[in-house]
């Protein structure tokens, strides 16, 4: 077998192993528990300490590709905000974010026995194109940016928005962000320009890039990082949702990757060791 076809076979073995590593814990859950981190705790505290009746913004800045990581965050957040009797305004800087919001509201409504009333407890203002410029405009006049909600109800006829004129009337913004536009725009505009508290949830791959914003100036109040962040939030809310369950296959997959790295290094070491010996033999 030549080198190229050996690599192809190895790749397929790796793919197969990963498939098994992910599938088995889904079929037979391991019941592993996640340990909370201060970043998640800070985000939780921000929501928890916001007074009852406050109007808050959850921005759905993602699309279905990252639904596994970000949708559990959305569900946990909505549940927490509603438990604290806060009123939620859903916005979206990504085109499919508004559908993600509807799905999340639908899921949490079931938990609350469909007792939450649209327009009084939550509203979906939908997607607006423009990223940071939209947030800047929201800081001046929310109604001009969103003259109607998703179902074409005029802004002035939505009861929970009666006292909300600009972004400054919002208690906090929580952006669930899969990229650009997203959390960074909320930090730079809502927090830095209008001083509205901002927290966020991102995919695991982009979390390290947002850590500098969690600082003494509280540019970000807290940060949920990937599936683990969502699982930690579920832990704080004392329920086991999809993030907690999906942490099992993710953890096993991570362990498999570490094992594969170790095997790759052993192979490389043996190859390096064999190379001078082969050279000596060929030199006579």
């Amino acid at each position: 077998m030549n080198s190229a076809s050996r690599i192809q076979v190895e790749r397929r073995i790796v793919f197969l192993l990963l498939l098994v590593a992910v599938a088995l814990p889904i079929i037979f859950p391991l019941g592993l528990k996640t340990q909370g981190t201060p970043l998640t705790r800070k985000a939780y505290d921000m929501v928890d300490e916001t007074p009852e009746g406050s109007v808050v913004v959850i921005s759905f800045d993602y699309d279905p590709s990252t639904v596994t990581e970000l949708q559990p965050m959305a569900i946990a957040l909505i549940e927490h905000a509603w438990k604290r009797k806060q009123k939620i305004v859903a916005t979206a800087l990504w085109p499919q974010g508004s559908q993600m919001a509807d799905m999340a509201f639908r899921d949490v409504q079931e938990k609350f026995g469909n007792t939450k009333v649209y327009g009084e407890d939550y509203v979906n203002l939908g997607y607006k194109v423009g990223g940071m410029v939209i947030i800047q405009a929201m800081g001046r006049n929310l109604k001009s940016v969103y003259p109607t909600d998703m179902s074409n109800t005029p802004y002035s006829e939505i009861p929970m928005l009666s006292g909300i004129r600009t972004l400054k009337d919002i208690a906090y913004v929580f952006s669930l962000s899969a990229g650009d536009p997203g959390l960074k725009d909320w930090v730079m505009t809502a927090k830095d320009k209008y001083n509205v508290p901002v927290a966020g949830g991102t995919t695991a791959v982009s979390t390290p890039g947002f850590l500098p914003y969690v600082n003494d100036q509280k540019q970000l109040y807290g940060l949920l990082g990937g599936l683990k962040g969502a699982a930690e939030y579920e832990l704080l809310l004392e329920y086991e949702g999809s993030a907690s369950l999906n942490m099992n296959p993710q953890s096993v997959a991570h362990i498999l990757i570490l094992v594969l790295i170790a095997i790759g290094n052993i192979k490389a070491y043996r190859k390096r060791k064999a190379a001078p010996a082969a050279e000596e033999v060929s030199n006579g």
Partner: protein, 232 residues
């Protein structure tokens, strides 16, 4: 004239928006607000332009039977289907030409657009993203090889962070006494993420910000003209 007019526009608009950040009084506030509204309108048209461009590019490839033309055809059919069902019956609360489509919604438990979105698009998009895991596993196996001091350091850090982000982390180092808390894998991971990682990220962010300021100035002053198109 054709090239100078956009340059003048870019200079004036750039200068006004820049100044309005330092002078929060009228007329600057008013002008910026108007410019923001224009931006939103222009951006909305950009979406329409994108759709037209998508259709044109795909139709051309299908008509010319270019390599893998079947995929372009699938893209066109999917696009047309979503636009059609969206226009006819709307989505979620928004009505379409035929209203809310209650009869169809009663039959398939959702509006056609929402049904396709939830049961086709979401699984497909998630699958595409999940495929990354397979490539990461394969790449880690072949590329994460210790060759020198730097790669050694990178690998040790990666091992700690990967382990620390799993649910096994607590079990693996739970036996370490509380006095050596920093050696607990989750704590060690947090330390790495919070200090060395944040320091490096800040350096990258500051460099990128300086780059953005530089390129913005080049655009405002008309030195950078590639956004005008037309080659040079």
């Amino acid at each position: 004239m054709k090239r100078n007019l956009p340059l003048v526009f870019a200079f004036v608009v750039g200068l006004v928006v820049f100044l309005s950040e330092f002078i929060p009084h009228n007329p600057f506030g008013q002008i910026t607000e108007t410019l923001e509204n224009w931006f939103m309108i222009v951006s909305s048209f950009a979406i329409l332009l994108g759709q037209i461009s998508l259709v044109r590019a795909n139709v051309t490839r299908v008509a010319e039977r270019s390599h893998n033309w079947q995929y372009y055809l699938a893209g066109l059919v999917s696009f047309t289907l979503m636009v059609a069902v969206g226009l006819l019956w709307g989505m979620e609360q928004t009505p379409g030409i035929f209203g809310q489509g209650e009869k169809i919604a009663a039959f398939i438990s959702a509006k056609p657009f929402d049904y396709i979105f939830e049961f086709s698009y979401i699984p497909l998009a998630s699958t595409m993203f999940a495929l990354l895991a397979f490539y990461i596993a394969s790449a880690a196996y072949r590329a994460f090889i210790i060759r020198n001091f730097e790669s050694n350091l990178l690998m040790i850090t990666a091992v700690i962070v990967i382990l620390g982000r799993t649910s096994f982390a607590t079990a693996l180092t739970g036996w370490v006494p509380a006095s050596l808390k920093l050696l607990h894998l989750p704590e060690l991971t947090d330390f790495i993420m919070q200090y060395p990682n944040t320091a490096a990220q800040r350096a990258i962010m500051i460099s990128a910000a300086l780059g953005v300021i530089g390129s913005s100035l080049r655009i405002i002053l008309g030195i950078e003209r590639s956004y005008l198109g037309g080659g040079k």
